[in-house]
């Protein structure tokens, strides 16, 4: 048993933190958040050049071939910034899908481009009748010779506005398993992407109007997608959790600092037990998120069955990040809602990522299905 980071993981963490301090301090991120694209090229290039982007991608496809926990160290530090950009959508989620669902040829074609940052990719599942999970997929392509023709909309797709490819889940038949994933080039005529306004992070619509996609864009074989996709999602989710843990940690750090600096009634506010109570609840959520996430990562790295742990981690982490921000706002009162202070960067993410890859209720329901069948001792 050893719950510490390895030396190389600590160095990795330090290198991300150094970069953030240099290139992406909080006031820069506050400004960036106001821009249309939401991130900038420095961030993207660094992520690619340092290898953070493609860390999880096997070496033979141009990636770092790192362990899940190594990558999580990076994503936790990114979440602490909080660093914007499609790193997770492209380098983790899409790459995992291509790796597990795609053919060898598709892996060789797409993964190196993703790892190098040359190509940005994301995953589109949900539709206007929003529901996470494959049974919510209704979009059904028409076949036309060597093409599929797509009509309809994918909604709440993270980072689609910045993506070159959108891996689009479509229905190929009426059966539960009749799902296909199309590697759709966003420059295809008839496809448009647009970032949605509001308290979301970087969710977009993708509209398909008579869009012709070559059949070769189909990842893997039709009908055999479900298990491979599930595997990819199980692998990717804990990295998103790590990003959320980093955010919750930052929100904790801010709150403790503010509790020391802010003076009211002649005392630092952290001396008041009401304020202490908020921070205690906050740190409990933070640590619950952290350790459920770490255990899921360890199970993946050590080849153990990780499904229960992944669902547990995502449920706990999503609830925890949201709660952590709420408590931080109670600590900060008016200061916390000033845009320049930066707390709301996290609050926004805590909301948007609450439902990313399935809201807590979804993961709790899946947990119920899994644990209900655990052998009773």
């Amino acid at each position: 048993m050893d719950l510490s980071l390895t030396e190389s993981q600590q160095l990795l963490k330090q290198s991300v933190e150094d970069f953030i301090e240099r290139e992406a301090p909080r006031d820069t991120l506050v400004e960036l958040q106001q821009t249309e694209r939401g991130f900038n090229d420095t961030i993207w290039k660094t992520a690619a050049e340092t290898g953070w982007l493609g860390m999880l991608i096997p070496e033979q496809y141009g990636g770092g071939g790192a362990e899940f926990t190594d990558a999580a160290v990076v994503y936790e530090a990114l979440g602490h910034a909080p660093m914007p950009g499609p790193m997770f959508s492209s380098g983790v989620l899409s790459a995992q899908i291509i790796q597990h669902v795609g053919s060898e040829e598709q892996r060789q074609r797409h993964l190196p481009a993703i790892a190098s940052g040359e190509v940005i990719c994301t995953f589109a599942l949900t539709e206007p009748e929003y529901r996470w999970g494959l049974h919510g997929v209704r979009m059904r392509p028409r076949e036309d010779g060597e093409h599929y023709v797509l009509d309809g909309a994918k909604l709440f797709v993270y980072d689609a506005h910045a993506a070159d490819y959108v891996i689009t889940a479509v229905r190929t038949g009426d059966g539960e398993d009749d799902i296909g994933l199309l590697m759709v080039d966003t420059k295809t005529p008839g496809i448009s992407t647009r970032r949605l306004g509001g308290f979301t992070s970087s969710e977009s619509e993708v509209i398909f109007q008579n869009a012709r996609v070559p059949k070769s864009a189909l990842l893997g074989r039709p009908g055999g997608v479900r298990n491979a996709l599930d595997r990819a999602l199980m692998n990717a989710t804990p990295l998103l959790c790590a990003y959320q843990v980093g955010g919750a940690q930052a929100v904790f750090d801010l709150s403790v600092k503010y509790s020391r600096e802010r003076v009211q009634f002649g005392r630092p506010i952290g001396r008041f037990q009401f304020v202490q109570n908020h921070i205690v609840q906050l740190v409990n959520h933070l640590d619950a998120a952290r350790w459920t996430t770490y255990e899921a990562l360890w199970k993946l790295d050590s080849g153990r069955e990780a499904t229960v742990s992944v669902h547990l981690a995502k449920a706990v982490t999503s609830e925890g990040y949201r709660e952590a921000c709420d408590y931080a706002h109670e600590v900060h009162a008016g200061t916390g809602v000033m845009r320049e202070y930066g707390l709301t960067l996290f609050t926004r993410l805590s909301r948007s990522l609450y439902h990313a890859l399935g809201e807590p209720r979804y993961h709790r329901k899946r947990l119920a299905d899994l644990v209900a069948t655990i052998a009773v001792d």
Binding site: T126, P128, E129, Y130, R131, W132, H135, G136, L155, F156, L196, G197, G198, F199, T200, E203, E205, Q264, F265, I269, F272, F274, V275, R322, D326, H329, E330, A333, G334, T335, G336, V337, M338, R339, E340, T344, T347, R351, S352, Y354, H355, E359, R361
Partner: protein
């Protein structure tokens, strides 16, 4: 016990009168309720209501109020509520709260001079309470007022002020004796907004574009050697904390309300309209659970508000009820946003013109419920007051501030 207001035939006749008048005078509005155009219409409606004494229905007639009994006032609130509007139909918490303090603490001259413009809708008033250094600790303000002849010279800064459409006058609490004892060194002023040395600058806050008319933007107000006539000092020098106790009490919720939180009916309507897997969302058991969560929270809020309304208007002795209602409303606001997020998923976070079915209200509420944690005293401050009023750990129980309504 009787939870329903009962009406005399005269009051029922009054309802018909109000209803007819409103149907004739209610402006057509749409889109962003906080737009300049909509604001102008609501502002005009306010002036029209004010001319009839309907803007401050229970305030004394001699100061421009309506002089109406409580039941008639409820009739007015209910009829306005049918249009989804409060009275006044624009942001004027400064007039409501400041007016109450002047009624209690002002001289007769001040009441005659200062109240009619507020009560008849001639002016919009902003309250300036919070400073960068003085949030929960209001009495720790570092905005100073120094006497100079017939005037006071004010310097300092107040934040989280007002709304998007400007104001005619401010009131604020200042330090008139920096060396004086706490709570005994403050003074309360009514200040024309156009005095030289006043600068108003919008703040960048999470709640921008939030729900409600004119409640969107907040401002910083800077005072740079602003000269205010001494006649505008209300309640006497260094008596400002007393004057403030009146409006703080009301702001902490002791005035109560007869209105209903609209989130349940809205969520119910959308849950009927939205489809999931080809069926209305309302048929999903999870969705129903979340609707009931919202229902329960809003019903409790409504009942706390109703209780306070009754206690306040019938002059029952009040203790912790105001801050309790305020605390509950703040915290249940957060819970309701989470239930709405669970119910509608990512739709709860977007005001996108193509996809948002809520006219921007869902997205705005996700943010405004967070912002609402602090104004009128943080949730923690409400608990501090409740503890003193209930007498936790102490025999003597602090009593509520003096209000009139």
């Amino acid at each position: 016990m009787d939870f329903a207001p009962s009406y005399t035939p005269e009051q029922e006749a009054f309802r018909s009168e109000v209803r007819a008048w409103l149907s004739e005078h209610m402006p057509k509005t749409g889109g962003d309720l906080d737009s300049d155009e909509n604001y102008r219409k609501f502002r005009q409606l306010g002036r029209d209501l004010g001319k009839r004494g309907w803007l401050r229905p229970t305030a004394p007639k001699q100061y421009g109020g309506g002089g109406l009994d409580v039941a008639s006032a409820i009739v007015l609130y209910e009829e306005m509520d049918a249009y989804g509007l409060p009275i006044p139909p624009y942001y004027d918490s400064g007039g409501w709260l400041g007016g109450a303090s002047i009624l209690v603490w002002g001289t007769e001259e001040q009441k005659q001079r200062l109240l009619p413009p507020i009560f008849t809708g001639d002016v919009v008033t902003w309250q300036l309470l919070t400073g960068p250094e003085a949030g929960s600790d209001l009495a720790g303000t570092k905005t100073d007022a120094r006497r100079d002849g017939d005037e006071y010279v004010i310097n300092g800064e107040k934040i989280y002020v007002g709304g998007s459409h400007g104001a005619d006058q401010f009131w604020t609490i200042t330090r008139t004796n920096p060396d004086g004892d706490r709570h005994k060194n403050l003074s309360w002023f009514m200040i024309p907004a156009n005095l030289p040395g006043i600068t108003v600058r919008p703040m960048e806050l999470l709640g921008d574009g939030g729900e409600g008319i004119g409640a969107g933007v907040k401002n910083t107000v800077y005072f740079d050697n602003v000269r205010v006539p001494a006649a505008n000092l209300v309640g006497g020098e260094n008596n400002g904390w007393q004057v403030a106790s009146t409006h703080l009490e009301l702001e902490h919720g002791s005035g109560g309300s007869v209105g209903r939180n609209r989130w349940f009916t809205r969520a119910l309507r959308w849950a009927n309209e939205q489809q999931r897997d080809g069926r209305p969302l309302i048929e999903d058991p999870e969705a129903r659970d979340r609707l009931v969560d919202i229902f329960v929270l809003t019903e409790i809020s409504r009942l706390f508000g109703l209780r306070n309304f009754w206690m306040n208007r019938t002059h029952q002795p009040m203790t912790y009820e105001g801050p309790q209602s305020s605390y509950f409303r703040k915290l249940s606001g957060l819970k309701i946003t989470e239930a709405l997020h669970s119910l509608f998923g990512p739709y709860a976070l977007t005001h996108d013109e193509r996809w948002d079915f809520s006219e921007g209200t869902l997205d705005a509420y996700q943010r405004s419920a967070i912002v609402a944690l602090h104004p009128g005293g943080t949730a923690d401050i409400q608990k501090v007051i409740m503890a003193r009023r209930i007498g936790m750990g102490r025999e003597e129980r602090e009593s509520a501030g003096k209000t009139v309504e």
